[in-house]
């Protein structure tokens, strides 16, 4: 029970199934579709990734994505993109406070966004050093990967919140 089953390039063959999803052959068992779940989505993005079958039972763990050949890593990326969505904020245009809310207008790696967050420390979380996770009223999440790397104007706008 407490042993970790590691999936290694030697014993685990990942492939793209007929429907375009990620499949796995491991110890002679074929799983037509598997899911990847990060154990440390913020602190170690590419390490300890749990591979689960349709019923969410753990088949094994990938210790580090980089152990796998590049084609396989590409498959991983595809699958991970289907599971994790976290726009990164690159620039902050404005933050306006009103009645317990703040309206943000930002540039992200997916383009310009406007969103509203409720003024509550839970919606503006310092997960690890210099990294901020922002959660808007709908439950969408945004990330400031490193606030010290923001441009000066943007930084000034969030300085107060830090």
């Amino acid at each position: 029970m407490s042993e970790i089953t590691y999936l290694k390039p030697k014993n685990a063959k990942f492939f793209r199934n007929n429907n375009g999803f990620l499949g796995l052959k491991f110890n002679d068992v074929e799983y037509s579709r598997v899911n990847l779940i990060k154990a440390f989505p913020f602190s170690y993005e590419n390490k300890f990734i749990s591979v689960r079958d349709k019923e969410q039972n753990e088949i094994g763990i990938i210790e580090d994505i980089s152990l796998f050949p590049e084609e396989v890593q590409k498959l991983f990326t595809e699958e991970i993109e289907r599971r994790y969505y976290l726009p990164k904020i690159t620039k902050i245009y404005s933050i306006k406070d009103e009645f317990g809310y703040s309206n943000w207008e930002v540039e992200t790696n997916y383009g310009r966004r406007k969103f509203t967050i409720r003024r509550d420390p839970n919606n503006f979380v310092n997960i690890k050093a210099n990294m901020i996770l922002i959660i808007d009223v709908d439950g969408n999440r945004y990330e400031i990967p490193d606030y010290t790397k923001l441009d000066k104007k943007s930084f000034k706008k969030i300085e107060l919140l830090l």
Partner: protein
């Protein structure tokens, strides 16, 4: 939820070409990770996917066997599958997750040949007027609630106190009036009597007496006014808190759960204080200051408009400067407030977890953690104070600059004998009166906004409709204990159902054991029977009445609950037992304690039933607390009894004692029991086994054992565990 959006003309025409009738039309906004503008349209037989108004996919709905709403991290997908195929249809941000949960259900029922009932209402999490999102769980838009409405509300709060408020306003004006008289007396004194020619000492004495009298009147009126205001303030605070607190108590558990205790406490204490302060101080002071400003300005202009200009010249600059500094002050104090908030919650956290801290020997680490934040707080505070105390003295100096000019200009006029000394003195005294209101006025917008925000927040609670509505009138009708759960589906978040299509029928006096892994939904089921939440679909009937149609007081007064984590209030054991029935006789209390196997241990305590428990009192063990909770439940003589892991946190021996108590307790009552140790459920009339929100097995202990299914597995697994322990 809105499921039928207005489609762009092109799309609508395209679908009409097919002769299809649109059932649902909803926007989606992602293509895996890339943002897009698209629509997903469902008709009787097809679904259409449009991307930027272009049809990219059209499929017969029955092509797939099942549609899945896949909740990923930070977004979601709609997928479809049949025996051979699996396909991703569209992706969407969290804004649409609820919507596509419903769409998936609708598609699935079309597959199963049901005609789905589609309810598309405009009730959304966004304000229909401005599109801004509501505050979580609230239906009042902060933005559209315009200022006028807020004023009206503020007025409704103020209304009962209008009389004393007017009185205090009147008193303040008298003070202002007196303040205006004194400089005139000074002038008369200096100009007419303090001259070498004058020999009239009595007149001088009279005037000085007048000045003294003014000063005395000023003091007395001030005292009266302050006393009056303190009384009014206290009663405003009391009334406001009472209203807010009563309202919070009446709100559903989901509202309270979604907010941090600190936030609610803040509403009850902080916000009410702010509003009170605004009403009792700012309003009347504001009116007075404004009036003073106007009157004094006029007076100054009339007395000597040239000299008045000297004073008034710096005014616009000062106002501008204040406006400018306001922002700085705001951010200064905002950050200070945030840090102190963080320090407080850290402290709260550490103190509540002090046992863990000590157990792991982490005292030093916690000390350094706290000292770090304390240091930051003290730095920020010191910094703010330094700035504040630098800026303001200089500002005062600047404001006073005008008076130097006046002294010079007025002095030269006196030398030219165009002005008398008394006039100059009077003038300077008046000019001093103007700075107070000026400084105050510049701060007014800020405190005004604060008060409005606090009012808003208070009203947000006062106007909140409880989600679980209590509409039925109180009847005091007894309940027999018939419980029927009819196709119930429920999720704490609607898009993530915890219970799915549950059915169950229980006759009065039966005991139902709920079995399943942790997280299977057992407690949730019980929460629904207690109607702490309303079901999303289906019905729960008690004595053939929908529990939504039973008054909550009627309902709860017939239910007794013993939970795993017992909460006892600070107070005596006696007070805790009679909590739900304060008029119980002493005999009843002792009987209840006896049934609960609590009487003997209570009698061993020196103060027996009058022993104080809770934070400051005697510490009871888990099993002892539990038995008090059982006594509390019995005393109510409930028809429906709910035991949620009532014995999970006690040792086997205590469990035996509690079990024995419970055995007596469940007689003639409909009982729902969840127990960690399955052996304790052996006597249940029926057992239901829950797994991932569904009932997978149903029957008596023996039936289920024979079946050798999930229950059998669970029982065997526990047997193994007990064996290995022994």
């Amino acid at each position: 939820m809105k499921l039928l959006y207005k489609l762009p003309q092109d799309i609508e025409t395209r679908i009409k070409e097919d002769g299809e009738q649109i059932l649902c039309a909803t926007p989606y906004d992602l293509e895996i990770q890339q943002p897009v503008n698209g629509f997903f349209v469902v008709t009787r037989s097809y679904f259409y996917i449009f991307k930027n108004k272009e049809l990219i996919r059209k499929e017969k709905i029955t092509r797939y066997k099942e549609y899945h709403h896949v909740l990923a991290v930070g977004f979601g997908h709609l997928e479809a599958s049949n025996d051979e195929e699996e396909t991703l249809l569209i992706s969407f941000s969290m804004r649409h997750v609820n919507r596509y949960q419903s769409i998936a259900t609708i598609l699935n029922s079309i597959v199963e040949n049901h005609v789905p009932k589609i309810v598309s209402d405009d009730e959304e999490n966004n304000c229909p007027k401005c599109g801004r999102p509501y505050r979580f769980g609230s239906r009042v838009c902060r933005h559209c609630l315009n200022k006028k409405v807020v004023f009206k509300r503020l007025y409704t709060i103020i209304k009962p106190y209008l009389l004393p408020l007017f009185l205090s306003l009147f008193l303040m004006w008298s003070i202002t009036g007196i303040n205006l008289v004194t400089p005139t007396l000074h002038r008369i004194l200096v100009n007419d009597y303090l001259t070498p020619k004058n020999k009239n000492l009595t007149a001088i004495l009279l005037i000085i007496g007048g000045i003294g009298l003014c000063s005395l009147a000023n003091t007395v009126i001030n005292v009266i006014k302050n006393r009056l205001m303190i009384k009014v303030s206290a009663s405003i605070t009391y009334d406001l808190r009472q209203t807010v607190y009563t309202k919070i108590q009446s709100l559903s558990i989901s509202y309270i759960e979604n907010r941090k205790t600190g936030e609610l406490m803040n509403r009850i204490t902080g916000d009410t204080n702010r509003v009170q302060h605004f009403i009792s101080n700012e309003i009347s002071i504001g009116i007075t200051q404004l009036l003073t400003l106007v009157v004094v300005t006029i007076l100054l202009l009339v007395l000597n408009w040239k000299m008045a200009l000297f004073i008034l010249i710096p005014v616009p600059f000062i106002i501008l400067y204040f406006r400018f500094m306001n922002q700085t002050f705001r951010s200064m104090y905002h950050s200070q407030w945030r840090i102190s908030d963080r320090a407080n919650s850290l402290l709260h956290d550490i103190l509540s977890g002090i046992r863990v801290v000590k157990a792991f020997g982490m005292e030093e680490k916690e000390v350094s953690r706290f000292s770090k934040i304390s240091k930051t707080l003290s730095d920020v505070t010191a910094n703010n104070e330094k700035r504040y105390n630098t800026i303001f003295p200089f500002l005062n100096y600047l404001m006073g600059i005008g008076s130097f000019f006046i002294l010079y200009y007025g002095g030269s006029l006196i030398l030219k004998e165009k002005l008398q000394l008394g006039d100059l003195i009077q003038f300077t005294q008046y000019s001093q009166l103007i700075y107070g209101p000026l400084g105050w006025l510049t701060f007014f917008p800020r405190s005004f906004t604060n008060a409005l925000t606090a009012t808003e927040r208070i009203f947000e609670i006062l106007e909140e409709e409880p989600k679980v509505k209590n509409l039925a009138p109180e009847t005091n009708l007894p309940i027999e204990g018939n419980v029927k759960v009819d196709h119930v589906t429920f999720g704490y978040r609607p898009y993530d159902p915890v219970l799915k299509d549950i059915n169950l029928e229980v006759k009065p006096g039966e005991m139902i054991g709920l079995v399943g892994h942790s997280g299977a939904g057992k407690s949730t089921m019980i929460n629904l029977i207690m109607r702490l939440y309303d079901v999303d679909e289906g019905k729960i009937l008690i004595d053939n009445r929908d529990i939504k149609e039973i008054n909550q007081k009627d309902l709860r007064s017939q239910m007794g609950v013993v939970l795993q984590e017992t909460f006892l209030f600070a107070g005596t054991i006696y007070q805790n037992i009679v909590y739900a029935r304060p008029n119980a006789t002493l005999e009843e209390v002792i009987k209840a304690a006896k049934i609960a196997n609590a009487h003997d241990f209570i009698m061993k305590l020196p103060d027996a039933y009058d022993t104080r428990i809770g934070e400051k009192g005697v510490r009871l063990s888990g099993g002892e607390k539990q038995r008090i909770a059982i006594a509390r439940a019995i005393l109510n003589n409930p028809k429906i009894l709910i035991l949620d892991e009532a014995t999970a946190s006690v040792d086997t021996e205590t469990e035996y004692i509690i079990q024995e108590a419970l055995g007596r307790l469940i007689k003639d009552r409909t009982t729902f029991a969840i127990a960690h140790r399955l052996s304790t459920l052996r006597n249940a009339t029926k057992l239901i086994v829950l797994d991932k929100g569904k009932v997978i097995e149903y029957g008596t202990h023996d039936e289920l054992l024979k079946k050798q299914g999930k229950y059998y597995q669970l029982v065997m697994a526990q047997k193994e565990l007990t064996k290995t322990r022994e």
